[in-house]
């Protein structure tokens, strides 16, 4: 690998190491995840008992809970890149980075992936342990473990460009958190964050199927509990297309925005 790319790998490595230093803080801040999982398990236990069935839309109770572990792992392992970029634009820190020998967006992407990997490990550990203790395990396809790591990277690449595009709107807006919440929650609703898309009514499912959000949450989460090799290819293709599309939008927003930056000496 050339030096040009090695430096980004180094940025990711440093991001992981700096997060490891705050391991306990990270674990404590994931207590909410334990609460979320506990409440969801109670809800679905009652639901399965009420329906008196073993599976809904093809998901057994443990599979439903592990699907939620996977969606939470994807969402909670995402560093708040929109907030970081917004802050850098507002504080002017962005100007300090412009003369550094790296691409601004790639630098943040590397940090995003590095920090995200660490978060993923803690979320999976805590969420997985909670799910295992409450509903037991499921038939996870262990040989595909490296594939899941790859899928996590591709999924978060699409998520990075999606969120970073919103964060960079700070070039024009005083506050982007409201807009981000809008974009993020649309992604949650139509990306199958809380329920597998198979449970949605047909009309909503049809809308979800033409949008990119299912490749950003539901697709990889479904593969996590119901792995097939065909499913991997069916996910990677659209992720590549949407990743390139969001990447192009994000780069365009950045290039337009950075023209507005005035750098003064001092």
């Amino acid at each position: 690998m050339s030096k040009r790319w090695l430096k980004y790998l180094e940025v990711a490595r440093v991001a992981v190491r700096s997060r490891v230093a705050y391991l306990w803080d990270q674990l404590l801040s994931n207590v909410t995840l334990v609460i979320i999982m506990f409440v969801f398990v109670q809800l679905w236990k009652v639901t399965y008992a009420y329906g008196n069935v073993d599976a809904f839309a093809g998901y057994s109770l443990p599979e439903m809970i592990w699907y939620l572990v996977a969606t939470e792992a994807i969402v909670m392992s995402m560093p708040r890149i929109h907030a970081t970029l917004e802050q850098e634009v507002k504080d002017g820190d962005l100007a300090l980075r412009l003369n550094k020998p790296y691409n601004y967006l790639l630098f943040h992407y590397s940090q995003f992936i590095g920090e995200g990997l660490f978060k993923l490990a803690t979320v999976l550990a805590l969420g997985g342990l909670t799910a295992y203790l409450l509903v037991g395990g499921f038939a996870f396809y262990w040989p595909a473990l490296p594939v899941f790591l790859l899928l996590w990277v591709t999924t978060q690449t699409v998520n990075f460009f999606y969120s970073a595009s919103v964060g960079l709107l700070a070039f024009w807006m005083e506050e982007v958190s409201g807009v981000y919440l809008l974009f993020d929650r649309f992604k949650w609703i139509l990306g199958g964050m809380l329920l597998p898309l198979e449970i949605y009514p047909p009309a909503v499912r049809r809308v979800a199927e033409v949008l990119p959000f299912r490749y950003m949450i539901a697709g990889p989460a479904r593969l996590f509990v119901k792995f097939t090799w065909d499913g991997v290819w069916q996910l990677l293709g659209p992720q590549l297309v949407w990743g390139l599309a969001f990447g192009a939008v994000c780069t365009a927003i950045y290039r337009l925005g950075v023209r507005r930056v005035d750098v003064n000496g001092g």
């Binding site: 803080d25 609460i35 979320i36 109670q42 639901t47 009420y50 958190s177 409201g178 329920l195 449970i199």
Partner: protein, 261 residues
């Protein structure tokens, strides 16, 4: 009492004017929270399409629950956002400002910051209620009173957990986790939990008083249950004031020179 309302009203007016200075971002925050809350109601609508009743609770009950919780979060956090910032303010020695002024420290602290995001919650509750629930004037009245009492409990809980900082050093993460816990439990029907959890939800983590009791009151009013809610609001707010004032005696000034914004 008139002085109290004049003081709170003056702060609210100034804070709102400051927030509306950036109108586009204020609107986007309110709209963002609307969509956020809407997501959860949509989740329940999808859920109840498949399972119409869950241990006696229907979609209408869950919608009332969301309306109560969002209005009470809107009131508690939208209008007194500093209730959530107590650990940060104490740890950074920022209480000095309030200590030098003649108003009650806790009251002054609470009303001096609003959260536009949470004002979105406050607007969401009535909208979803009108759109999805069969209403009578009596039900509306019960809803409003119960939401205010739930807001008082939520604010008091936040002050109580925030006051831990006086005793533990910085309890920012712990306070945030406890607040998130009460909020999370408040947004699910209590009947899904077993007895042990329910006991916790009506004592240590008062989520039951914030959502379940108001929902049951709106469904069918009982004086006894209403008095329980009133008692819980009085107990938690009294406890919050006592613990905050006791903790304040342990506060050490930050000797910080800073601009307040």
């Amino acid at each position: 009492m008139a002085k109290f309302f004049a003081f709170v009203g003056a702060y609210l007016k100034v804070n709102l004017a400051a927030a509306l200075e950036y109108r586009a971002s204020a609107v986007s925050q309110v709209l963002g929270m609307f969509i956020n809350d809407g997501l959860w109601v949509m989740f329940w609508m999808l859920y109840f399409t498949k399972f119409p009743v869950i241990r006696g609770w229907t979609l209408e009950d869950v919608v009332v629950m969301w309306a109560v919780v969002t209005v009470s979060v809107g009131l508690a956090m939208g209008l007194t956002f500093n209730a959530r910032r107590i650990p940060e303010l104490v740890a950074q020695g920022q209480l000095d400002y309030y200590l030098t002024l003649p108003k009650d420290v806790l009251l002054h602290l609470l009303v001096s910051r609003i959260s536009i995001f949470n004002l979105g919650d406050m607007l969401f509750g009535p909208v979803v209620l009108v759109l999805l629930v069969k209403l009578t004037w009596a039900r509306v009245a019960v809803f409003l009173v119960a939401s205010v009492l739930a807001a008082i409990i939520m604010m008091a809980f936040s002050v109580l957990t925030g006051s831990l900082t006086f005793y533990m050093g910085n309890s920012e993460t712990l306070s945030a986790q406890l607040f998130n816990t009460v909020l999370h439990f408040s947004t699910y029907p209590a009947p899904i939990f077993d007895t042990g959890v329910k006991v916790v939800l009506f004592t240590l983590i008062p989520a039951g008083f914030i959502s379940t009791v108001p929902v049951e009151l709106v469904r069918e009013f009982h004086w006894m249950q209403f008095l329980e809610l009133l008692g819980a609001a009085a107990l938690f707010s009294g406890l919050a004031v006592v613990v905050f004032r006791h903790g304040l005696k342990r506060y050490e000034s930050g000797n910080l020179m800073m601009m307040r914004s």
